[in-house]
Symmetry: C2
Subunit: 225 residues, 2 copies
DNA sequence: CGCCCTATTGAGACTTGTCAAGTCGGGTGG
DNA sequence: CCACCCGACTTGACAAGTCTCAATAGGGCG
């Protein structure tokens, strides 16, 4: 929906830093590993760290007391978490697969931004990308039909693969996760998959492995603008 | 949906600055006025300034080549525009009423952030509030029914009024603007108004003036979590 | 007073949600 | 190794919500 291409996979807090600056950053880093289903942190808890995903897939969600749930993002290696929040995390992050995560305590990280202008700029741009992603999602939920929303997700997942593997998509999340991301029910998601398959836009090898047969149509439906 | 209250009306880039620091910021400021319907800037144009709304109401929207439109926000005095973007504006901003706007060129503004830590912190927090608002909208569009989405908007507008006038709401935007903000059609918005009126949750004096009769119900429906 | 634009209301179609039944597949225990 | 079991996914029938199209009402401004 926006003309922005997928530059965000390439942008990290390390972009353009000198060897010494990277070393200064790395001095703050500790590592965390999560098993499938484990939580990185919960909604409404104080946010004291910034995270960078190294391996695996994470899911960011917001749940309500009445049981409604909205998945805000699926995160893949290179993504950042917690860069843009204020004092509390406003969402829960959990692991869809075993995951390896770099953790940086937020206070020294902020101090370091004052010493390294490029780092501050990187953070600014990552924050901009996160907002841009969220605005894309608002557009999708507000304006698109079920099968278009599904293509919106497929395109996002496809764009983050290496160019050779763009067409083959591994869906590590459940249908319920997809439904809650796209603001639909699992049944509607299932029917949207069926519709795309019938129309030969995608092929479905198993519930969690699909191939994009017609990239152009997927993108047209995903953008739908 | 989040526990965050409406603190964002109070937070500006000036918060907690000394007299000298405010003067340094004000040295960058120029003023703009817009008539109803005029544009501040357009989607896909390079972003060279940061803006603060002083008077009036602005609307931020994203439009597609196929004519679909999503309104991302209605902005009221105290709100900031352009703080979180990268090189291009990813949306269009226009005036719903005559408006008065402070403009700060982005480059010196960023330089000043290096000199004034509190300013940098303010910008960080405003960015966090903008993202939080957008996440609220994702939740609303993904999970709520028409009349709940309308209460979501009414609550947002109500929260930004002075405490005495909280119950009386002036809708400066059209039904089409509301529909495009909530991901609905004008007819559905109209029926949602009718439903809330029939149920004595609100009273409708004219198409653009409504009174909240039962604040609790409006909030329950707005949060719906 | 009348015109025009916006909003409301109504009827019917379409999309999505709900409820229920059935299928598939991976994992476990015999 | 096979059969069963259980959770996840799919499919179907129907209900509910929203959209579309059309007609009507209302309000502001000349």
């Amino acid at each position: 929906m926006s003309p922005r291409q997928n530059t965000q996979a390439l942008l990290t807090i390390y972009s353009g830093l000198s060897r010494e600056e990277i070393a200064a950053l790395d001095a703050l880093v500790s590592y965390k590993t999560l098993e499938t289903g484990e939580y990185l942190f919960h909604q409404h808890t104080p946010g004291r760290s910034v995270y960078m995903l190294e391996e695996g897939t994470l899911m960011m969600e917001r749940s309500s007391s009445t049981g409604r749930r909205q998945v805000m993002a699926f995160m893949q290696p290179g993504n950042f978490i917690g860069i843009t929040h204020n004092e509390h995390y406003e969402f829960t992050v959990s692991a869809l697969t075993p995951a390896k995560i770099r953790e940086l305590p937020i206070k020294p990280f902020i101090v370091l931004q004052d010493e390294i202008p490029q780092l501050k700029e990187n953070v600014r741009r990552i924050g901009g990308n996160i907002l841009a992603h969220t605005l894309d999602q608002v557009f999708a939920l507000g304006q698109k039909k079920a099968h278009e929303r599904l293509c919106f997700l497929l395109k996002q997942l496809s764009d983050r693969q290496s160019p050779q593997r763009r067409h083959l998509i591994e869906l590590v999340m459940t249908r319920q996760d997809i439904a809650d991301y796209l603001g639909l029910t699992i049944e509607t998601v299932s029917r949207a998959f069926g519709k795309l398959k019938r129309e030969k836009v995608i092929d479905i090898y198993s519930a969690h492995t699909v191939e994009i047969l017609d990239k152009t149509i997927v993108e047209d439906l995903a953008l739908a603008d």
